[in-house]
Symmetry: C2
Subunit: 222 residues, 2 copies
């Protein structure tokens, strides 16, 4: 039996999403909770990456997860097994979360004493890129099987992310994926983007990514 | 140099999308052009599948392709090499196509004498499921690396499709993908869905899928 809460988040009635996102970010700064907005296509390995990330960090910080989905709660059930605090957000068909929907999630999760909160956004490379959620940083996952041309096709997503995790590097030999080309295309859109090639399945590269989180969480408390 | 047209489709101002979709479908029936709406996540292999499908069918029917994308025209450039008639539709950030946007594409493509027209929809499992494009049939691609749980997470998409193509079966040994579970989950949502496991890369299974197209194109002309 699952113990996590399932929240139906309502579409925001507020027009000025950017202002509301800034306000949420400011409040999260005061509460010393580093909020990460994690985005990707369906099936790129967000939940598996999260599971490994939580395993790497849970002994040194308090972690809370908001799993957003159109429907279903399979991801929250998986994350619950890591021991992290987790709630499931249902968007009722909406393809993204905005700042006010994120706030509804933050209120229900309760971030008092949480060092690192993660919003696992809807699996979609289009709509979530258009809405500032109020997170401190944005990260996206691109997986090897999706192809190295994705920066060309979803430029906004690559432009607004602080971090690009390139996942499933364990299957690199079986796909026509040119890592150099992918990195070059991402950097052309976003010269400052940090790139972490990982395999969430084997754990390869996860430590470097976890180190980045450690730095961010420490920085956010200052 | 590419020779295909690039069309900026405008968001529809019409409220009754279902009615306009029915109207487009009726007109396509009169013109004897079978229009297929092809949907999937980014990177599931829509364009490679299309390339192989066109290769299998181009000697027996006239084929036209509308490549929809937020931005870029890499897919249209790939399809152009197959010899099929192709245009690129840009949605200006929109995450789906509705019936009127499809009509703008159909008008620009020109379907006179085209037996089989394909709309390659935006790579997204959420929004395109919500809008009837006016196509005769809907098909979706799920690829092995995306995982067998996708019917649980994107139920609407699986519910509205006539066909589910399960692509990249050549990499099945390298992923934890339970084919039986995936089929069971899809059929639970949509008992009549036709399922074609294929590898667009190796060509395995493409003939069965091409046969389905042959039947549909013939049926549509009656």
């Amino acid at each position: 039996m699952n113990n996590f809460k399932v929240i139906e988040v309502k579409q925001s009635i507020f027009e000025n999403n950017d202002k509301r996102a800034d306000l949420l970010r400011k409040e999260m700064k005061e509460k010393k909770t580093f909020l990460l907005n994690l985005m990707s296509s369906p099936g790129s390995g967000k939940t598996t990456t999260l599971t490994k990330t939580i395993a790497a960090l849970k002994d040194e910080m308090s972690i809370g997860v908001m799993e957003a989905d159109i429907d279903s709660d399979v991801d929250a059930a998986t994350i619950e097994q890591t021991g992290a605090k987790v709630i499931q957000l249902h968007t009722g068909g909406m393809c993204h979360l905005d700042a006010d929907m994120t706030r509804q999630g933050v209120n229900e999760l309760g971030v008092e004493g949480i060092d690192f909160a993660i919003l696992e956004n809807i699996g979609n490379l289009v709509c979530p890129a258009e809405f500032d959620t109020g997170a401190a940083k944005n990260a996206m996952i691109l997986s090897i099987p999706e192809g190295d041309d994705k920066p060309l096709k979803y430029p906004l997503m690559f432009s607004i992310c602080d971090v690009l995790i390139i996942n499933k590097i364990d299957v690199l030999p079986y796909f026509d994926f040119d890592m150099d080309k992918c990195v070059e295309r991402a950097k052309k859109l976003n010269p400052n983007i940090k790139i972490f090639p990982i395999s969430a399945k084997t754990g390869e590269g996860v430590e470097a990514w976890a180190n980045w989180i450690r730095e961010q969480v420490n920085e956010w408390k200052k």
